[in-house]
């Protein structure tokens, strides 16, 4: 069964601004990245999924339910984490998440238990009894995630969950989202304008731009199997490039970096040996996966 299915979904505001146009996607359960620049229509899409906005035309189904017809049934099974600040400063996280659990229909004791569970899962322990006003941005993001989890949804809609976080905080948040998707058995839609960020944790990817679908597919279908090794040497970059090309490697030059495709088992060792043989001062070796971004690069340029 598909998780989210839309058919020619279109949303215009006041007949002039087009937020979504003719969007047709069919997404399976898992961790889904929804990628697009600011203003691409990601938030509009999420609000339509929640039944907060009615589409101008086209149809949308979440868990095979129509959010425009039975929004309550959809919302019971969905957790939403908004992009913007949405926490009152003068209550404790425990109390706040409990209250929202009750608004989702949990009985009092269950709401309290699940609130502390949810806060524990996002990594807030004793500090959950402190007032939210004193929290760091990272902790606030965690509280926002916890309130989306408290009623045990089947789908999480996360709007820019890494907003405002430092690199370490980003990694922690992404790891947490990945764990929710894989271990908790909850499907997650992660909105982001940073492709490189979500591609690490997603099973499938939906890219939209200007309200139109760029591409929707599983990550595995988008990335080629081979990895890339980035090599940086202080000098003799050209010599190394020539040497590696001679050895039948596919080498691309990217500034001071050489990007070498790792096609065979022993490729890594052979590249190292080539550097050693030429006696070059090695600066950096960095193994990367093919970036999905590269798949979009040409299309995005074409659109501009």
């Amino acid at each position: 069964m598909s998780l989210i299915a839309t058919e020619a979904l279109t949303k215009t505001y006041g007949g002039r601004v087009t937020a979504l146009s003719d969007l047709t996607v069919d997404v399976e359960p898992g961790v889904i990245g929804l990628v697009g620049a600011n203003g691409a229509g990601k938030s509009t899409f999420i609000k339509i999924l929640l039944g907060l906005l009615a589409p101008t035309s086209g149809s949308v189904r979440v868990f095979d339910l129509d959010p425009t017809v039975v929004p309550d049934k959809v919302r019971t099974r969905v957790g939403y984490m908004p992009e913007h600040d949405c926490l009152p400063p003068d209550v404790s996280a425990a109390e706040f998440v409990t209250h929202l659990g009750r608004i989702s229909g949990l009985p009092r004791t269950a709401a309290r238990e699940r609130a502390s569970e949810a806060l524990r899962h996002v990594g807030l322990y004793e500090e959950r009894y402190r007032q939210i006003g004193g929290y760091s941005t990272g902790m606030k993001q965690r509280v926002k995630l916890a309130q989306a989890l408290v009623h045990d949804p089947d789908l999480l809609l996360l709007d820019e969950p890494t907003n405002g976080l430092d690199p370490a905080g980003r990694d922690a948040m992404l790891a947490l989202i990945h764990r929710i998707g894989t271990e908790f058995g909850i499907s997650v839609v992660v909105c982001s304008h940073l492709l490189g960020e979500v591609e690490r944790i997603c099973d499938s990817l939906v890219a939209i731009e200007g309200g139109r679908l760029l591409r929707a597919d599983r990550i595995s279908a988008m990335t080629t199997a081979s990895d890339i090794l980035a090599v940086e040497v202080s000098e003799g970059t050209d010599e190394l490039s020539a040497e590696l090309t001679k050895q039948d490697f596919t080498v691309t030059r990217d500034g001071r970096l050489l990007l070498v495709e790792l096609s065979e088992e022993d490729a890594y060792d052979r590249i190292l040996r080539a550097v050693a043989d030429l006696d070059l001062p090695l600066h950096r070796l960095d193994q990367r996966r093919h970036r999905v971004a590269e798949l979009f690069a040409t299309r995005e340029k074409a659109d501009v």
Binding site: K47, L50, L52, L53, P71, D72, K73, R75, T76, V78, Y80, P82, H84, D85, C86, L87, P88, P89, D90, V91, E95, H99, L100, R102, I103, S104, G105, L106, P107, A110, R114, E117, R120, H121, G123, Q131, Q147, H151, D152, R179, I180, E183, F184, G185
Partner: protein, 287 residues
Amino acid sequence: MSEASVIHDIGYQRYDGPRLGRGAVLGAIYIHGLRAAFGFGRSAKSKIFPWLVSGITILVAVILAAVRAQTGIVALNYVQFDDAMSWLVILFVAIVAPELVSRDLRSGVLPLYFSRPLRAADYLGAKFVALVTAVWLVLGVPQFVMFLGAAFTTKTGMSGVWNELGDLLPAWGYTLIWAVVFASLSLLIASLTGKRAFAAGGIVALFLMSTPIFGVLQLLPSRTAQELAGLASPMMLIGGVGNWLFPGHGTGMPIGRFGPVYAIEAATVIAACLLLLLARYRKVASL
């Protein structure tokens, strides 16, 4: 390894217990609102004002009851008590109504409410009833204190108690009218801004500004104008309705035969405020 991996081994528990319906959710918001009105679950600072007002009204009631028990003088009857406390009630709603709605607007918490199975009407209904209850308690409890004082010192035995109860119950009804009118007006004003100070100022201003208009109208030489002057001020409006519904209890404000006009205006004001609130939140709820 790190502490996180220990936690992570406990695993995530799915919830398969009951999920309650609309009524329970409404109840949760109502209780939450009523608690917030008196500062429960909030900082000590937010308890000061509601409890100051409640303390003063109860103190006045105790004094009234004591004076009556000692000297037999009824300085204020139950209905007049509401009118006499009007300024305290205005201050109370000016603090509590923003606490109930402006706070949610300010902190941007509404998207979290409305992405759950909750309608704008349910949210508003629960907040409205919570404020009505809070205002009613602020006036109704002191009235009950006055009743207790009178009932225990009555010299006519059981029939005296019954007489008192016959006075108290209509007065509680009058208090309810106060609560409903004040709650609808103040919630509407508070829902317009996320800044609590502005909302409080606006509410006080509404009641403050309308009183001089009433005063001017009452100075007009026409008797009809004098009798209709109360329509200009929410407080006098309630007084007029009270005079019409419970003749002989009230402050004796001259309303002539315009009682029904007062009642119609009161009903219209309440309905209009609630509809405007709903319209406002329809917009807010779509985020």
